[in-house]
Symmetry: C2
């Protein structure tokens, strides 16, 4: 009975300011200064609908700050990769599902104020959005440099497996090669064409299955063209894997 009462209490009351500060300190690894920013970051629209008092404006700010910090991090970590690679890898780090997952693992779901009776919120990524809002709050509270430290030493280090995200880049090629090995086939990639398109070169890469052309793909770099070709080959050869 006591447990149910405590759950009901948790459903309908805000944590005390002292409790919130302690929870934030655990979550952030530093003592937040200006608490109203954080209270706002944790306030979902389903509780308070006005733009000034829910976390959506802070989410806009935090999304931009996070994007800039991740951009710099990748720019420096991968000094020879082109901007297509950097853009793709960043989008994998900051995509809604990924942020929502990180927010849950951080325990942010226990701090966000939202209307728990509202069944329509299931797929709305409120915790990932609150994480972005929290980053907006951190930025306003402690400035860019320290927010960058927080993102790099906490968010990226503890919750993001960049190696794994990077590896999924070669997903289609890997999938196709794994399948061919399991099924006793030989897959190879060949450059079918390189032609000038304005100032750039357009590559056409073909996929050979046991030396028979099964698909081809175009792109402005060979690696991407290979991916496109592999994806098309999968669609033809093993549609169940798509």
């Amino acid at each position: 009975m006591k447990r149910i009462t405590s759950q009901i209490t948790q459903l309908f009351t805000k944590p005390s300011k002292k409790e919130l500060i302690r929870n934030l300190e655990d979550l952030l690894g530093f003592r937040p200064k200006h608490i109203p920013y954080y209270e706002l970051a944790l306030m979902h629209r389903s509780k308070l609908d006005e733009a000034e008092s829910n976390n959506e404006r802070l989410e806009f700010l935090g999304d931009a700050i996070l994007g800039a910090i991740i951009a710099e991090y990748l720019f420096k970590k991968y000094p020879t990769q082109d901007e297509g690679f950097l853009t793709e890898l960043r989008s994998r780090i900051v995509r809604r599902e990924s942020l929502n997952n990180v927010a849950m693992r951080m325990g942010l779901n226990k701090l966000v104020q939202y209307n728990q009776q509202d069944k329509g919120l299931g797929r709305s990524h409120i915790f990932g959005n609150a994480l972005e809002a929290l980053i907006g709050a951190i930025y306003l509270d402690i400035g860019f440099e320290k927010t960058r430290n927080f993102i790099q030493c906490n968010f990226l280090k503890l919750y993001i497996d960049i190696g794994n995200l990077e590896a999924t880049d070669t997903n289609f090629k890997n999938k196709l090669l794994n399948w061919s090995q399991r099924n006793g086939h030989t897959i190879s990639f060949v450059t079918l064409e390189e032609k000038n398109d304005g100032s750039r070169k357009l590559f056409t890469i073909g996929v050979l299955l046991d030396e028979q052309l099964v698909a081809s793909g175009n792109s402005f770099n060979k690696k991407d063209a290979g991916q496109v070709a592999a994806q098309k080959a999968i669609a033809v050869l093993i549609p169940s894997l798509e």
Copy 2:
């Protein structure tokens, strides 16, 4: 003859380091420190195609830094506007055409190194992209706070008319009202319905022409619903204005 020779020289040679520093100083309003960042920012792919030696990686970085700085600027300038408004206004400031236009007015086109014989570059926004790359270079050279100063005091202040960009938000309503005044009609907007949709309210706004309903629009806020309705009314009443 001397003039032609000088033009040809300008076409095929890089400016001297000293000249570049002077030009940058004029453009930026401060003395740049680490010149190689700026040389890279001004190097278009049509001159050097490798990712490490053209400006595309810096463009990726600068785009993100600019986005964050503009986000904060708008967040603080419009404390009561919702994130939809902020997102829309930012996208108008940083869209390709707008940046390309600013870059030309700054004179960046005279500094960018690109293959002037390449006719395929016409619509590629190389100067706007170089402006983003330049912002990436500024960030690496002087850090976030000073880059923010540069963006606010130079880029935004001298080249962006935010009031005008903001005003185009009410374009459809204004267009419709102007037309009705010129043609002796009365246009009015009415709320036809407010219904709950999950945690949000969905508004339906109708457009009345001389008290006759001619179109309606839905959105999660009244202002946007009015815009949608006005746009539909224009399509019906004055298709030539669309």
